[in-house]
């Protein structure tokens, strides 16, 4: 299944988006985003209103790209790079903003996101966007692709790269994730880190916490405040190199 995109339709009536976006009347306003991301995100937003799940993912995306991932715009094809797979493809606004802030995509690509000639869809396409490792949108595909990526790197002796897959707590409803969780745990796929952004959106919840679905299968886990950059950094570097690792980033339901 898919989730509806966080983006409301772009205002009609002109190919060129307006300059500074007008202030929205919503109260309270959107949560603060990391400084370097604010400009690109505002440019991408172009007057539209973003849903809570855009903001719930930006902090962990920023910590990943700013402090964790061994990847730069110059190394997007380097076999030895870390891999980041955005499985919840609808969290795309923050993703594009972070990629722009880090120089993977030109800022002017942000101005026509979703337009007929844009490379930036409402879900990301790896063949269109530099630095994007997978095309996603239909939930429950990223973790399996991440397992395969980790296995492929290992089979080729590439033991340095780590594979990070970002999912949502509602995305865990998809059974395909549990195929991947069980297998990665059983085989000790140590180069894999799953990041679950938990904004309590799973319809039937995860009693005991989302992390328990991983730890029951032999993963290590850390559950942290998804807004706390230092806590995220600590958790995202907390793997033991023997087992797959999951970071559950808990964010408010705003």
């Amino acid at each position: 299944m898919t989730m509806t995109t966080a983006n409301t339709p772009r205002p009609t009536g002109g190919a060129t988006p307006p300059g500074p976006a007008p202030a929205l009347p919503t109260v309270p306003g959107p949560p603060a985003v990391p400084g370097p991301v604010a400009g690109p995100l505002e440019r991408l937003r172009a007057g539209r209103e973003f849903g809570a799940n855009v903001y719930s993912t930006i902090d962990v995306l920023w910590v990943l790209y700013d402090r964790i991932l061994r990847i730069t715009p110059e190394t997007t094809d380097d076999p030895d790079r870390d891999r980041f797979l955005l499985s919840k493809g609808h969290a795309v606004a923050g993703y594009y903003a972070v990629l722009a802030a880090k120089g993977f995509i030109p800022p002017d690509w942000l101005d026509d996101q979703g337009g007929p000639d844009s490379r930036l869809g409402d879900h990301p396409d790896r063949t269109l966007v530099p630095g994007v490792e997978i095309g996603s949108g239909s939930l429950g595909h990223g973790l399996g692709l991440g397992v395969g990526t980790a296995l492929g790197l290992r089979a080729q002796g590439l033991l340095t790269p780590r594979v990070y897959v970002l999912l949502g707590d509602a995305e865990l409803d998809e059974g395909s994730n549990h195929e991947a969780i069980a297998y990665a745990g059983a085989t000790g796929l140590a180069s894999l880190t799953a990041v679950v952004v938990d904004n309590h959106s799973a319809t039937h919840g995860w009693p005991g916490g989302a992390a328990t679905r991983f730890t029951a299968n032999g993963w290590t886990a850390a559950t942290v405040d998804g807004r706390d950059h230092d806590a995220l950094h600590h958790a995202l570097t907390g793997h033991d190199n023997h087992r797959p690792h999951v970071v559950v980033a808990v964010v408010g339901g705003e």
Partner: protein, 274 residues
């Protein structure tokens, strides 16, 4: 055919470090020696077909050449969205190899039958489909598919013809009834049965084990105004291809193959071939 696949795939894993094999328990025992020699490239994920295809996509993204193998309904039907998204949408490619074609396992009932597999692959773009008609055709088809860089579906069956035929994909004339005769195209293991059926009729018979891409040039060359398709999967699967190829030529087409109905009959594969 299955044993030929196991033997050839085992050789390929030894010959080419770019190859990998992804299994979901089916045939795992047959590949145990290969798994022991190449534990990082023979990957049995257990009974998890979604993961099997996702893993193949991930392997391909790192530059490996994955071969994915299971029973046809589990390989193609159960994991169809993963084929569409984890392979095609990622611009990743793989070679899928099935056993249990159509009604090979008739006694197992509907759950193990997959006559729609080629139709499903037809909904995708750019796939080659190989349907060997004899175990002797399997090895070359597999080697060619793995050596290529596109996606391919290799459909193995327990049914087969008495002897192997050409493997380059072109329509091969097996029986020539002369100019103007109706053309019968038999795909894979149904060739011998088709030949028997028209033994007393003035019908030219051509064979292919590569229905996709279909040899449309060969078809145009051999066909007059009457074409009979005999395919070992859903009847009419290639009707569109034939009609497109002959769009500029008034013609009649009879398409034979497996029906859509759940027969709820058991028995052997031979019991269902008629």
């Amino acid at each position: 055919m299955r044993q030929t696949f196991v033997d050839t795939m085992t050789d390929l894993l030894a010959e080419d470090p770019r190859t990998a094999l992804v299994l979901a328990d089916i045939s795992a025992a047959a590949f145990a020696p290969a798994a022991a020699r190449h534990p990082e490239r023979v990957l049995n994920v257990g009974i998890r077909e979604q993961l099997m295809m996702g893993v193949a996509g991930g392997l391909a993204l790192t530059g490996l050449r994955p071969v994915v193998h299971s029973y046809a309904p589990f390989l193609v039907e159960r994991a169809y969205e993963q084929i569409k998204l984890d392979l095609d949408h990622q611009a990743a490619t793989a070679v899928l190899v099935s056993v249990g074609a159509s009604y090979d396992r008739a006694a197992a009932g509907r759950t193990h039958l997959s006559p729609a597999d080629v139709s499903l692959i037809d909904t995708l773009h750019g796939w080659a489909v190989h349907v060997p008609g004899h175990p002797g055709e399997v090895s070359a088809l597999l080697r060619d598919a793995v050596a290529g860089d596109g996606s391919a579906y290799l459909r193995l069956s327990i049914l087969h013809n008495d002897r192997p035929h050409g493997t380059d994909g072109a329509l091969t004339v097996v029986r020539d009834a002369g100019p103007g005769a109706p053309l019968l195209v038999a795909v894979g293991p149904v060739l011998d049965a088709a030949l028997d059926a028209v033994a007393d009729l003035g019908v030219t018979v051509a064979y292919t084990n590569r229905p996709r891409p279909f040899d449309t040039a060969g078809l145009r060359e051999l066909a007059g105004t009457e074409v009979i398709l005999v395919e070992p999967y859903l009847a009419g699967t290639s009707s569109r291809v034939v009609s497109d190829a002959l769009a500029d030529r008034p013609h009649r087409l009879l398409a034979l193959g497996v029906g859509h109905a759940d027969l709820r009959r058991y028995g052997s594969a031979e019991d269902h071939t008629r």
